[in-house]
């Protein structure tokens, strides 16, 4: 994994403001997304994020030392 599980959770949560704001911003460009379409776009982005997170890193050994966010203080 490229980031910690907790990091992934926070990244997914961060999608919420991005998506709701994106819908407004797109409306300026006359692209009107319905709620369902927004949810759909969100699902695609979330899937992309998950895919990226779970892809093995290029030299996978480094994972453990990158994944410091799980360690206690």
């Amino acid at each position: 994994m490229r980031i910690s599980k907790a990091g992934l959770l926070v990244a997914l949560a961060f999608l919420a403001p991005i998506l709701v704001e994106l819908r407004t911003v797109l409306a300026w460009a006359d692209i009107h997304l319905s709620v369902l379409e927004t949810v759909f776009v969100g699902a695609i982005i979330a899937a992309g994020l998950l895919l990226w997170a779970f892809l093995p890193e290029d030299g996978d050994e480094t994972t453990s030392d990158r994944d410091v966010s799980n360690s206690e203080l």
């Binding site: 980031i3 959770l9 949560a13 919420a16 407004t24 990158r66 410091v68 966010s69 360690s71």
Partner: protein
């Protein structure tokens, strides 16, 4: 044995624990009323009478922003002073005395608010947390507020006492940063509460007791906002304190700069009060010039806010790099997201940045007209006090509660989900509130659904906006349920010996780098008072001059019918004459142009 707060200061830990639990009771009650009114005003589920909406909203507002926040922050301040001066309070009975004052005050204010929900008790205080006249509450409500505030004054005296005693023993030492923050905040609070104290004791309380007939509503409003803006800093400064002295510790690093933190707090002390009129941009009776001065002062507040943002992020980055983080943004991954205390505070800070943007709109005198009294404002302050403050407080509770109870946190994963859920819930709720406000949807309204009129939305429909508000509200309520599950689970746990030590972050650039003058509290107090006098004396004088100290002179009642008809005739006559002459003037002007 561990070296937690409860081990170092067992007697004080009891006080702090009592304060935290009191604040959580208020949070729970506030949360219940919050979801009731959310579902009510969005017309998704209504089971209260709309006539009771103001009682519910008063309960939500008062329990959240007076009781929950202030009980929590006085607990934090007690911890901060004792920990950073490394000394017990001077007299624990004195400390319990102000806790008692605050608690009695709260109960006294809560009784009439809650009684307003039933018909069986003839009492109410549906005056909202701003208690604007002519809304009038039961005297008990005002008395309770006074006692509560007096309790906080005595609390401040307690902390000053500790500091004075400490200073005698350490004449040349710098004030430790957490204590410095407590003292500056309290000085600001003493100045600010003069406004509400006057408003309640001189006007509203005698008026609700029937001792005086009338009040000058503009005067009491202005006195309220004299206190009403600084009170937001009374909530925020403890949250900032957590970001300055705790967040770096949880990120695994040090505070970037102690002097910068001190400068920030001094600026907040100076600038918090002379800005209150920015809540009254739409009040007739205050001239534009005074409003403009308030706006200018408000814009200066941006400076300490940005200082805070910079210092806090720099400290986090320092911590992340200590933990092995690299790259421009890569260090973000090395932050301890698994830790609910850290994650909650970081997410709170993130939403606070968004609040800053909508706050700039509120602060601008001209664009304020667009959003004034609309749901936009409610969206704004659920990001500030409802998230930056509330979420920070909930997150640090996961560290504090074990410290003051001596028990391990019940469940860290639930805690993490809780803070993330709050973030998502607030995102949904406040985004739609801001957007609803932009199209003019009012706040403080039980049924903002009107016949024969449609709000024109830019994106989506009003139904969608309402649904999004309700969705956010439901997620927030869930988040609260998880929070209380964790607190209760912890309270019933057993004593642990492996708690982390009590303490706070050291600074990269310490207090020795801070100019001495920063610790000269007398100087800053004097300047703060002078600024307040500049900002308020003329507006207050002109308000009293125009509207009278106790309201305008009331014409003798009953007015006789004849005088009314005469008045109507006179008005009509004047109007006709004015119209005629205007018509004549237009005619001559027009013919002048044509010829």
């Amino acid at each position: 044995m561990s070296n937690a707060y409860i081990d170092q200061f067992p007697a004080e830990a009891k006080v702090v624990k009592a304060l935290f639990y009191s604040s959580f009771v208020a949070l729970a009650l506030g949360g219940v009323f919050g979801i009731i009114q959310t579902l009510h005003r969005t017309d998704i589920y209504r089971f209260i009478d709309s006539a009771n909406y103001y009682s519910v909203l008063t309960a939500h507002g008062v329990f959240m922003v007076i009781t929950f926040t202030i009980f929590f922050l006085v607990g934090v301040f007690t911890w901060a002073v004792t920990t950073s001066l490394d000394r017990e309070v001077e007299d624990i009975r004195f400390t319990w005395a102000w806790v008692a004052l605050m608690s009695i005050g709260t109960v006294m204010a809560a009784v009439p608010i809650l009684a307003g929900l039933t018909d069986s008790i003839d009492m109410s205080a549906a005056v909202l947390f701003t208690f604007y006249a002519p809304l009038q509450g039961h005297p008990l409500f005002y008395l309770g507020l006074v006692l509560f505030v007096v309790g906080t004054w005595v609390a401040g005296a307690d902390w000053f006492r500790s500091w004075w005693a400490w200073k005698k023993e350490n004449p040349d030492a710098r004030i430790p940063l957490p204590t410095f923050m407590v003292l500056t905040t309290m000085i600001m609070w003493y100045i600010a509460t003069m406004g509400v104290a006057t408003s309640i004791l001189v006007f509203l309380l005698p008026w609700s007791l029937g001792w005086i007939e009338t009040v000058n509503p503009l005067l009491t409003r202005t006195l309220f906002w004299f206190f009403g803006h600084p009170v937001v800093y009374f909530w925020l400064m403890p949250a900032y304190m957590m970001w300055y002295v705790m967040l770096p510790k949880f990120s695994g690093g040090k505070l970037f700069s102690d002097p910068l933190a001190r400068v920030g707090f001094v600026l907040f002390l100076l600038l918090s009060t002379p800005v209150g009129i920015h809540h009254q941009y739409l009040d007739p009776g205050i001239s534009e010039g005074f409003k403009f001065i308030a706006m200018t002062n408000t814009m200066f507040l941006l400076l300490p806010s940005l200082l805070t943002a910079f210092t806090v992020v720099a400290s986090m980055e320092h911590g992340a790099r200590q933990r092995g983080g690299t790259g421009y943004f890569g260090w973000l991954k090395a932050l301890p997201w698994r830790d609910p205390v850290f994650a909650g505070m970081a997410l709170a800070g993130l939403l606070f940045a968004a609040a800053g943007f909508s706050g700039m709109v509120n602060a601008g005198m001209n664009i304020n007209y667009l959003v004034h009294n609309s749901l936009w404002v409610v969206g704004h302050f659920h990001l500030t006090v409802g998230t930056a403050v509330a979420l920070t407080f909930m997150a640090v509770s996961y560290w504090f509660i074990p410290q003051v109870t001596g028990k391990e946190l019940w469940n860290r994963s639930v805690a993490l989900v809780q803070v993330v859920l709050w973030f998502i819930g607030m995102t949904f709720m406040t985004n739609s509130m801001h957007r609803a406000g932009l199209i003019g949807m009012p706040r403080r309204t039980a049924e903002p659904q009107y016949e024969g009129f449609e709000f024109e939305t830019a994106v989506g429909s009003v139904g969608e906006l309402d649904a999004q508000i309700a969705l956010g509200g439901v997620l927030l309520t869930l988040s609260l349920v998880l929070f209380f599950a964790n607190i209760i689970g912890t309270a019933f746990g057993s004593r642990s010996d492996t708690l982390p030590d009590n303490g706070y972050a050291e600074a990269l650039s310490g207090s020795d780098d801070a100019p001495r003058v920063l610790d000269n509290l007398k100087l800053w107090t004097a300047i703060a008072i002078v600024l307040v006098i500049f900002a308020y004396s003329l507006p207050l004088l002109s308000i009293v001059d125009r509207g009278g100290l106790f309201g305008p002179d009331i014409p003798p009642l009953p007015v006789s019918l004849e005088s009314v008809t005469f008045l109507a005739f006179a008005v009509e006559h004047v109007a006709t004459v004015a119209l005629e002459s205007a018509g004549n003037f237009a005619q001559t002007a027009l013919s002048g142009v044509i010829n």
